[in-house]
């Protein structure tokens, strides 16, 4: 894996770098591959609440979100804490590009259940609004005032190559200088979040953690996703 040890070995060619990444899975929160928090074993709902409280987050709307949005929200919240991303870039310069497998299926099923019986037809507006995976990306965008492209792509499994190509293209062809990207999957008891920040090399020269940056390419993204050490 290509890693910058220090300034002196920065490549001459402009690169896209993964400057920070987070994983929420198996009752744990890992930041840059290091375990930050372990919650009690339980449902995804219990895990989300426990992470919210552990990190002293104050955002009452969190409790109205579905589990998928909560997981995405928490991932972005912790990932961005302590960074200067939101000061360094305008909202328009930041994109959110995500993938998952189950879309918003859990909320879709909940909604379907509420309209199944014509005699008990009480669809809940607050469930219905989460019947799209893009809402998860939008919750992150609203919270952090991110106004660049935001999209959620559905794949059977994590596709690092797609992210590599799509995000690289965004940087090349549009006014994007930063991107939050990754995999936020949640259905039933299974949940897995892998979210990372991508920035251009020339925008992070003063970034203190440069030695921990990883060049954006398919292989590196796949390795980080699988939890392989840097």
């Amino acid at each position: 894996m290509e890693i910058y040890e220090n300034f002196n070995i920065l490549p001459s060619r402009m690169e896209l770098l993964i400057t920070r990444y987070i994983q929420l899975q198996d009752h744990r929160v890992l930041l840059n591959g290091i375990v930050e928090y372990v919650s009690e074993v339980g449902s995804v709902g219990k895990f989300n609440r426990s992470v919210y409280r552990h990190y002293n987050i104050d955002y009452p709307k969190f409790f109205k979100m579905d589990n998928l949005s909560k997981l995405g929200f928490l991932s972005a919240e912790i990932l961005l804490q302590g960074t200067d991303i939101l000061k360094k870039y305008l909202g328009e310069e930041i994109a959110i590009i995500l993938e998952n497998a189950s879309s918003s299926l859990e909320s879709d099923e909940k909604h379907q259940e509420s309209i199944r019986d014509r005699n008990k037809y009480f669809p809940s507006p607050s469930v219905f609004v989460y019947t799209l995976p893009n809402i998860m990306a939008s919750e992150i965008a609203i919270r952090h005032k991110v106004k660049g492209e935001n999209t959620v792509f559905i794949f059977e499994q994590f596709e690092p190559e797609f992210i590599d190509h799509y995000v690289s293209d965004l940087f090349r062809n549009q006014r994007v200088n930063c991107c939050l990207s990754g995999w936020i999957e949640c259905y039933g008891d299974h949940y897995q979040s892998f979210l990372f920040i991508i920035e251009q090399e020339d925008k992070i020269k003063r970034f203190k953690g440069l030695q921990e940056c990883v060049i954006l390419n398919t292989l590196n993204v796949e390795k980080l996703f699988k939890g392989k050490s840097i």
Binding site: P60, F63, K64, F122, P123, S124, P125, S126, V129
Partner: protein, 95 residues
């Protein structure tokens, strides 16, 4: 009687709107529900419309009657009691 209904409504609102860390005791029955007070939003307003229909059999026109009825928990309780009174009067007349 209205006090019992207000307490019931408070519990239902906490449950339906997922109001975390709020107890019925924290809720002022006369405080505005939207903007100030509990700070509810438009989705919450729709959820309240569903709550009235599902739990009390009351169908309301949210855009027309909503602002008045949903001003506070007390105004909701008064509306429910008036509605029930009217239904009782109608059924007494028909019998």
């Amino acid at each position: 009687m209205i006090e019992d209904l207000i307490l019931k409504l408070k519990k239902e609102i906490i449950n339906e709107l997922n109001l975390e860390n709020i107890t019925p005791e924290d809720m002022d029955a006369e405080a505005p529900l939207f903007r100030k007070g509990l700070g509810l939003d438009s989705i919450d307003a729709l959820e309240l419309v569903v709550l009235l229909e599902e739990n009390y059999g009351i169908k309301i026109n949210a855009s027309k009657e909503g602002p008045k009825i949903f001003y506070s928990i007390k105004t909701i309780a008064e509306y429910i009691l008036n509605h029930q009174k009217k239904i009782n009067q109608c059924s007494e007349r028909s019998s």
